[in-house]
């Protein structure tokens, strides 16, 4: 244990000396300060219900956190009444807390049926390519399916316990009751204040909760996952070439510690340092966002683990290059280059799959390389998945995680990546043990 602690402290001392820790902590502080400068307006549920009732014939879907929007407009003219509190004559079931009621009147039942059919088609559409089965205009629509349309349409934008019933048996007119237990998850217009209110941005088509999760994902995947990883690899990739330099390695290997343990401790110390640094950065940002929005996302702090996992997959490459060449630049640039290459492979494969390319020789080659390479890019999707499912309602989580083609098999991805890291690490140990120093 004392040997591991000595190596861990040595890694920290080296990082501090190179100012890498200071850079990362500074990045974390700037990000935390930026998070603390944000404030979020909460959407008004009544206004949101009125707006969505008026635009009930327009279907919108975001493509993932940062993707574009897919719209479908159906010609179904209607009038919308004022949003009001439920009345006894509405005959709503008991137990719906805080429900609000709105009435919609269409010109014909056929318009409602068109909406229900288009909605089914819209929902089954491939979100990236837009491919969808043809709308069967001849298919009969029942009362239940019409009610389901209103329910699903409003639940998708953040309402809960939606009940839709025809008014007095006339299926051209519908009374819709909806509750809104979490206004922060409501897709509606709201205002985002930046820099302690110095700037403001009007946001619609996305709820504050989703915006926060998207922002957290941006921090996790871009700031820490990309810039942070560059700094981390640059910092720790030099540890082993420095250790195995002529004159340095003698001092280390003359100690009563086996070569395998020495190298594995180096690896473990670097990964542990990354976990600590990433936890500080994510923790500070999560705390700031929690203070400003009331939404604390545990999974955002857990993104420190995925950042460390990505580092743990790539660091063996730096170790191998460092042991084989004793060259710091080669170890650093080699590991960063390898990271870029493996990400490009994963992304190219993902892109081909999203575009619906079923089977080509290139896809087979990419599949083979994908199997071997560390899948750091898949960790971005895991971040997305975990963030979306942490403390959002199922509907909001579904909206947030609607990234097409990114159906990452976490076990497969992590398992094969860990296998890659283990094999490269074993190879490094073998070279390190065998070599004369």
């Amino acid at each position: 244990m004392s040997a591991f602690l000595a190596i861990f402290r040595d890694a920290w001392r080296e990082s501090l000396d190179r100012r890498s820790v200071q850079v990362l902590v500074l990045i974390g502080l700037v990000l935390a300060l930026f998070c603390a400068s944000l404030s979020f307006g909460t959407p008004d549920p009544d206004r949101a219900l009125a707006d969505h009732s008026q635009s009930i014939s327009t279907f919108t879907r975001r493509i993932g956190f940062f993707g574009g929007r897919s719209h479908t407009q159906v010609d179904a003219p209607h009038e919308t009444g004022a949003v009001r509190a439920p009345q006894p004559e509405d005959d709503l079931p008991a137990g719906i807390e805080g429900a609000r009621v709105v009435e919609l009147r269409f010109h014909s039942t056929a318009d409602v049926d068109d909406l229900a059919r288009a909605w089914r088609t819209f929902r089954s559409r491939h979100p990236w390519t837009g491919d969808a089965p043809e709308v069967d205009h001849a298919r009969a629509i029942g009362s239940r399916e019409r009610a389901d349309f209103f329910r699903e349409r409003l639940e998708e934008v953040g309402f809960a316990d939606v009940i839709a019933r025809p008014i007095d048996g006339d299926e051209r007119a519908w009374r819709v009751a909806a509750a809104c237990p979490r206004p922060i998850e409501l897709v509606a217009s709201w205002t985002l204040h930046l820099s302690f209110g110095a700037f403001k941005i009007d946001v619609d088509e996305v709820s504050p909760a989703e915006w926060i999760v998207a922002f957290e994902l941006f921090l996790a995947n871009v700031f820490v996952g990309f810039f942070g990883m560059l700094v981390l690899l640059s910092t720790f990739a030099s540890a082993v070439p420095e250790m195995v330099r002529k004159g340095s390695i003698d001092l280390v290997l003359a100690r009563p510690i086996g070569r395998t343990r020495l190298l594995l401790f180096r690896y473990g110390a670097a990964v542990a340092s990354v976990v600590a640094l990433a936890t500080v950065v994510f923790g500070a940002c999560a705390a700031a966002l929690w203070l400003r929005s009331g939404l604390f996302n545990v999974s955002f702090v857990a993104c420190a683990l995925t950042a460390a996992a990505a580092f743990a997959m790539l660091f063996p490459v730096a170790l191998l290059l460092g042991v084989a060449t004793r060259n710091t630049s080669l170890a650093t640039l080699g590991s960063i280059g390898f990271w870029g290459l493996s990400s490009a492979v994963v992304q190219a494969r993902e892109g081909m799959r999203m575009m619906g390319v079923a089977s080509t020789r290139w896809l087979k080659v990419l599949d083979a390389v994908y199997w071997i390479a560390p899948k750091t890019r898949d960790l971005d999707h895991l971040n997305e998945f975990f963030l979306a499912h942490s403390n959002l309602s199922p509907a909001a989580a579904a909206r947030a995680a609607a990234m097409p083609g990114a159906d990452v098999n976490a076990w497969y991805s992590c398992g094969t990546s860990a296998l890659f890291a283990a094999i490269v690490l074993a190879l490094t140990v073998w070279v390190f043990r065998r070599r004369d120093w």
């Binding site: 000595a6 040595d10 004159g247 001092l251 290997l253």
Partner: protein, 311 residues
């Protein structure tokens, strides 16, 4: 007495067929200071690295305190000061010792106290918290000695321990090594400074092109067999010298006597008898000694001459 260091037929051939060591056999007893001499590239550092398992031998085996050198446990009670060592320059003197102590399984307050005491011992008190990148070569050498002594080792392997150290520092380091010897520690010394080796070492081996060409105590190595210096009250006359020359293999006049080489040890009695018979007052008789430098140069030249025809 058990051998602290054993090299049993150690050979090492590096890639490119460079034969660095050839069947090296030596044993260093516990408590002695052993000097390894050799030219640059003779294989001295390679031998030390084999002893520490930094270099794996092609043939043979090495043992430290009875434990095979391949095992990490063999280095538990061993301190090593490499030649041209390089400390990570982001460390301070104290943190470097804490790092190396940690790798040796030491820790806590005991390590801190020991590190401070050693820095004081090697003359680095007051600069414990200064970054190593600001150290002179001599200071780094002193720090190197401190890290070698950190785990209170029973065996010390020192490669050029006084390299880059000023004369005062050398004397201090010599004092530290003598103190270690008094404490019963075994010291294996690689050095170019023959005077230092002569002064410190109990036994010496000379390594030439990977082979041990001579070894023994300083006394054994420097004694010139069958050469004697006869000290007389007055210089010898030419006649006496001529008579002596006929009696011995060679006779060389000295200011205060004569140096004679004899074929057999008993022949020195005849030399004394002759001098006494000619009325020469003899003050003393001593076996002639070579300097270690002479022995070293002669051994290296002999080895080179032996290997020349083989090529």
């Amino acid at each position: 007495m058990a051998s602290a260091i054993v090299a049993d037929g150690v050979s090492k051939t590096f890639r490119g067929a460079v034969r660095a060591l050839r069947d090296v056999r030596l044993a260093v007893e516990s408590g002695e200071i052993f000097g390894l001499l050799g030219r640059n590239g003779a294989g001295k550092t390679t031998l030390v690295k084999v002893l520490l398992d930094l270099v794996r031998p092609t043939a043979g085996s090495a043992f430290l305190l009875g434990v095979p050198a391949r095992r990490a446990a063999a280095r538990r009670r061993v301190g090593y000061l490499p030649e041209d060592h390089r400390f990570p320059d982001y460390h301070t003197a104290l943190s470097a010792l804490a790092y190396y102590g940690g790798l040796s399984g030491m820790g806590g307050g005991e390590l801190r106290e020991r590190a401070k005491a050693l820095l004081g011992l090697v003359g680095l008190a007051g600069v414990e918290r200064r970054k190593i990148r600001g150290f002179s070569k001599g200071m780094k050498q002193r720090l190197g000695l401190a890290q070698a002594l950190l785990a209170d080792p029973e065996v010390l392997l020192l490669d050029e321990p006084t390299d880059g150290v000023d004369p005062l520092g050398r004397a201090e380091i010599r004092g530290i090594l003598e103190e270690q010897k008094e404490r019963g520690r075994t010291i294996f010394l690689n050095s170019h400074l023959l005077s230092e080796v002569e002064r410190l070492c109990d036994r010496v081996a000379i390594l030439e092109q990977g082979e041990i060409v001579r070894s023994g105590t300083i006394e054994e190595l420097t004694r010139a067999e069958l050469v004697f210096a006869v000290t007389t009250v007055a210089p010898l006359s030419a006649e006496v010298l001529a008579e002596l020359a006929a009696l011995v293999v060679a006779a060389r006049p000295l200011d205060d006597g004569v140096e004679v080489s004899v074929a057999r040890e008993e022949a020195i009695d005849a030399v004394i008898d002759l001098l006494r018979a000619r009325g020469v007052s003899v003050r003393g008789l001593a076996g002639k000694r070579h300097s270690l430098e002479e022995v070293f140069l002669a051994s290296v030249q002999d080895a080179a001459a032996r290997q020349e025809p083989a090529r």
